[in-house]
């Protein structure tokens, strides 16, 4: 009897503690986990965001790099952290929407997290080596169809977004290009410059400097809409593959057990951040556009992306058999 009473009492206290902490949140240092190595694109976004959050929330926000397994290790750490609002993740599309479909992860992209808001998005840019007689997306499809398996594309590694976006493109256009994986997006872009591979669907951050120096020829962006940093580039969707949309995002996510009041408070801050002119300027430097989504929109987007990649993998597997 006493034991049950104690259990109820402690459960009640725990509940009380949760609500109290949600009201006072944040009352101590917040850890923002970056599941990638320092210096990369996600890391830059996280550090820019951390500076803003620190100012708005009045608490120290430390960036904690937990790289490994293409973002799986760090995302997993956050999924398993206590949901008290003091461990957050700047997660990215690769480890959340692609990896759980392509390989086994111990977290579920929809159930293990409470998404708060997407912070920034960046499209991929279709770049080809300038020595190729390919000047438009139509040229690319025609050339690829005439020479099946001959065009090679560089990616950041098997099962990464740079790999899957081309697989999706191949599936939609009936083309077949040869996959050449690299260790990261930056060496894959360098390989397009040197001509070791013919093309790549590469992150805009990596593509822009090489485009300016005419080291690569850019054909299109992979997002649904044209991009503000290269408005002259058409989208893949408007040229050859209607409905094609692949975009890389970084967003703030919390462990699934985080109380809703904390999510709501954080959502408000991130909404302000997306509209902040200073933030827009800082994000533009890394080639990113600031974005705000409500937790519900964010959750729906992740679910839709997981579905898209799952369907593609099934399609590819069926073709092989």
């Amino acid at each position: 009897m006493m034991r049950i009473a104690a259990a109820i009492l402690s459960a009640g206290m725990a509940l009380g503690a949760t609500t109290a902490s949600a009201q006072e949140w944040p009352s101590k240092t917040i850890k923002l986990v970056v599941p990638y190595a320092p210096g990369g694109y996600t890391d830059s976004v996280a550090r820019i965001a951390a500076r803003y959050l620190e100012k708005e929330l009045g608490q120290t926000v430390i960036v904690d790099n937990r790289a490994g397994g293409g973002g799986i290790v760090g995302s997993d750490i956050v999924a398993k952290s206590p949901g008290d609002g003091y461990t957050l993740c700047i997660c990215s599309v690769g480890a959340i929407s692609v990896a759980p479909v392509a390989q086994t992860t111990s977290y579920d992209p929809v159930k293990s997290f409470k998404p708060v808001s997407i912070v920034s998005t960046i499209p991929q840019t279709v770049i080809v080596n300038p020595s190729l007689p390919i000047n438009t997306m139509q040229d690319l499809v025609t050339y690829a169809k005439a020479n099946p398996g001959k065009l090679s594309y560089g990616s950041s590694g098997a099962g990464g977004l740079m790999h899957y976006s081309v697989q999706l493109f191949d599936a939609r256009n009936g083309t077949k290009m040869t996959h050449v994986p690299f260790k990261g997006g930056s060496p894959a872009t360098a390989a397009v410059v040197s001509g070791e591979v013919n093309l790549s669907f590469t992150n805009m951050t990596d593509a822009l400097p090489q485009m300016e120096a005419n080291k690569v020829r850019a054909l299109a962006v992979t997002s649904a809409k044209r991009n503000e940093f290269a408005p002259q580039l058409p989208t893949v969707s408007e040229t050859v593959t209607p409905g094609y949309s692949v975009e890389s995002w970084n967003g703030v996510m919390a462990p699934a057990s985080t109380p809703d009041p904390i999510i709501a408070k954080l959502s408000d801050v991130l909404k302000k951040m997306a509209a902040d002119p200073e933030m827009k300027k800082s994000m533009a430097v890394v080639g990113a556009s600031t974005v705000f989504t409500t937790p519900e929109e964010y959750k729906a987007q992740i679910a839709a992306e997981v579905e898209q990649w799952r369907a593609l993998l099934k399609e590819i597997a069926e073709k092989k058999n």
Partner: protein, 500 residues
């Protein structure tokens, strides 16, 4: 040519402002310190200090961060020489003869030649960037996967030369290293290999954990078991300045090491490591008396140390001329530049001349500062050896643990260090040297990656390795080296046959 000097003059004007001089010095000191602490590498330090640079101008920030990077190359040799713990892959070979020199009471001689060699190499490397940066960068563009594969093969063959004991054991160690290097995600399929379902292993075994275990802690264990604990403690500490004779024996090694380092440093992926290993192998090849190697040959310290510092300077070439980072540290520099609002790329020299030439000028100043900081420090470092070993080893073990943890903030890596310490102790008992193992571990994944990528791009045709001139030349050099290693053994057997 006059353009270059005018630009360089402008660079000195930028670098020599009091504020930039201060941050250059701060970076150099910080780099030396983290270089000395085993395991704590420039990547961890630069990422920690990145937020602190927000308030600085981009030029000051990059000058300081670069100072940390090449400063760490000076400091990295210190623990390799004094306590047989190489802080980074580039100082693994320094430990072979450097530590022997320390045991013979010649620690200060080894440290001095490391600092002087690094200084000369750093200056020459910087001149090369200033004069030849952009054309050299274009040259690296000629290197494709088949050429890298052949370069790595050359590296593996040189690893046999590294060994001072039996060639058979060396080859066995290289293969053990190759096997350890297989752990992790398969690049082409994304499947996990030999990870036993541990996510922590999906990016492979942590290099620092492997080195700290095999070298550092294993050394401590075997020192503690012997009654004659550390001969070095009883030896005289010696003078700081190496004798004229010692220097004369080393200058050739410094120049050869610098040449190799300058060349290999420009190549992406492991260039600096290959440079230091091949510098050691080269010294051993050209030496008249090879038996001195592994027993405290000063060239065995001078060559690799010069090579790794030259490589540290020239590894900035691809970053500054093309915006392509060649290592984790360089990727961090890209991050630092973008956070400061500069997108590194092919246009950086024309758009940011202050940054490019200021950084180059600061490298001259930084190297001069480093040699001035490091030479007097030698006395202090060497005196550390006088600390009773029962106290010293505790400090070594604790610092190793902190260093390993700091790489990925992962306690899993610390447990791995414990495992590798036991392995290292067993290998030591079997007279198997860990240096060739590390060479296999570092090169193995690169060999595989480039081999498979070559075959993908050639659609499965292995002739691609012989059709490309760079690759063919490298393979021929490897074959020649392999034959020259085998020849003495063959000749010896023939002599034996004749005697019978």
């Amino acid at each position: 040519m006059t353009d270059v000097f005018a630009a360089l003059g402008h660079g000195f004007a930028v670098a020599a402002t009091p504020i930039n001089l201060f941050f250059c010095l701060a970076g150099a000191i910080c780099g030396t310190l983290i270089g000395v602490l085993p395991g704590l590498g420039p990547v961890a330090t630069i990422s920690l200090l990145l937020p602190a640079t927000y308030a600085l101008s981009p030029v000051s920030a990059i000058i300081m961060l670069a100072g940390i990077y090449y400063g760490a190359q000076y400091g990295g040799s210190t623990t390799a020489i004094l306590v047989n713990i190489p802080g980074e892959s580039t100082s693994v070979v320094t430990a072979i003869d450097g530590y022997k020199m320390a045991q013979q009471g010649r620690a200060s001689e080894a440290l001095a030649i490391a600092a002087i060699g690094s200084f000369i190499a750093g200056c020459i490397g910087t001149v090369v960037i200033a004069l030849l940066g952009p054309p050299l960068a274009l040259m690296t563009q000629q290197f494709a996967s088949p050429d890298y594969f052949s370069l790595m093969v050359l590296g593996l063959v040189s690893a046999v030369v590294l060994a001072n004991g039996s060639a058979f054991r060396a080859i066995a160690m290289i293969f053990l290293g190759l096997l350890l290097g297989m752990v992790g995600m398969d690049l082409n399929t994304g499947e996990a290999r030999m990870t036993f379902g541990l996510v922590e292993l999906s990016d492979g075994i942590n290099f620092v954990a492997l080195v700290m275990g095999l070298f550092g802690v294993a050394e401590v264990i075997s020192n503690l078991e012997g009654a004659s604990v550390r001969i070095v403690n009883k030896m005289r500490i010696g003078t700081i300045w190496p004798s004229f004779k010692a220097l004369r024996g080393a200058w050739g090694a410094v120049l050869r090491g610098t040449a190799l380092g300058t060349l290999f440093g420009i190549l992406p992926g492991g260039g600096a490591t290959i440079a230091s290993f091949s510098a050691y192998a080269l010294e051993k090849r050209v030496a008249r008396d090879r038996s001195r190697f592994g027993n405290g040959a000063i060239e065995g310290v001078a060559g690799p140390e010069s090579a790794n510092n030259a490589a540290a300077q020239t590894s900035f070439v691809p970053l500054l001329t093309m915006g392509i980072p060649t290592s984790a540290t360089m990727a961090l520099m890209v991050g630092a530049l973008t956070l400061h609002g500069i997108a590194p790329g092919p246009m950086i020299i024309s758009r940011q001349p202050d940054l490019f030439w200021g950084l180059i000028a600061s490298m001259f100043l930084g190297n001069a500062m480093l040699v001035i900081i490091n030479l007097p420090m030698i006395g202090i470092w060497v005196r550390l050896l006088a600390v009773p070993y029962r106290l010293l080893y505790l400090v070594i073990v604790v610092i190793c643990a902190i260093g390993v943890y700091s790489v990925n903030n992962s306690s899993f890596d610390v447990y791995m260090t414990v495992g590798f310490s036991l392995l290292g102790y067993v290998l030591r008992k079997l007279d198997a040297e860990p240096a060739p193992l590390l060479m296999g571990f570092v090169l193995g994944p690169m060999v595989e990656e480039n081999f498979r990528r070559s075959l993908i791009t050639s659609h499965g045709d292995p002739m691609i390795f012989l059709q490309r001139p760079i690759s063919l030349a490298l393979l021929l050099v490897s074959a020649a080296l392999l034959i020259s290693i085998m020849m003495p053994a063959v000749r010896q057997r023939r002599v034996e046959v004749f005697q019978e």
